[in-house]
Symmetry: C2
Subunit: 127 residues, 2 copies
């Protein structure tokens, strides 16, 4: 039984290498990919592979900032930084897995910068 | 030794109840609170308590959608839905803890809805 954490590490390295055979092997055939911010859902490995293959090739994984792995519930959350062209972005991604250590659901968040509301400058420093 | 997962559950229930004594008890005295989207950082329990006490009282925890707890690295990630007035929002929050099960760092993301780019309607359904 493969640990989901290992599968997720392969998911990111294979995506970065555009190694679609290795990438496909991390996924359950019925994988569900959700983007709550746009309310988009992609069903199944084939569609999700197409989605990733078609994604602009100037995408680059900069670093995996955090991995939180819950072996008991077969859940993993990553926080990764990527470059898309000259822009740096980050994604928070929830994964769940099956008994074979394959990914069954992926829930992806892409939080964007915003200006802080006024009235808390006395409590918060900027970095 | 309190498990960080339990502390985090208390953190959310105490925040919802505005029970600041119970809330304070979940936090290390040196707790760091980061908002990467605004690049704000609040240092220390007292400042973070003030920040929360001053936050509009029409805030309401709707549900804890997911909890991913990594006992080995003392990390927990939650995905919660809240109502702020009539608006529903969600937050992804990373916690780390100390040996006493108190929270040492909190990293909070508030992803906002956006319109999906065109060109993937054939792969993605909307929900």
């Amino acid at each position: 039984m493969t640990e989901l954490r290992k599968t997720v590490e392969t998911y990111w390295s294979a995506a970065q290498a555009r190694d679609w055979a290795a990438f496909a092997d991390t996924l359950s055939i019925d994988v569900l990919y959700d983007l709550p911010q746009t309310r988009e859902r992609i069903r199944g490995r084939e569609n999700f592979l197409t989605f990733n293959r078609d994604y602009p090739a100037d995408w680059r994984l900069l670093r995996i900032n955090r991995v939180v792995a819950d072996p008991e519930s077969a859940q993993v959350v990553t926080w990764v930084h990527v470059a898309v062209g000259l822009e740096e972005m980050y994604a928070i991604t929830y994964f769940t897995g099956d008994a074979d250590g394959r990914i069954t659901t992926i829930t992806d968040f892409w939080p964007e910068p915003y200006e802080p509301p006024t009235g808390r400058e006395h409590l918060a420093e900027r970095y």
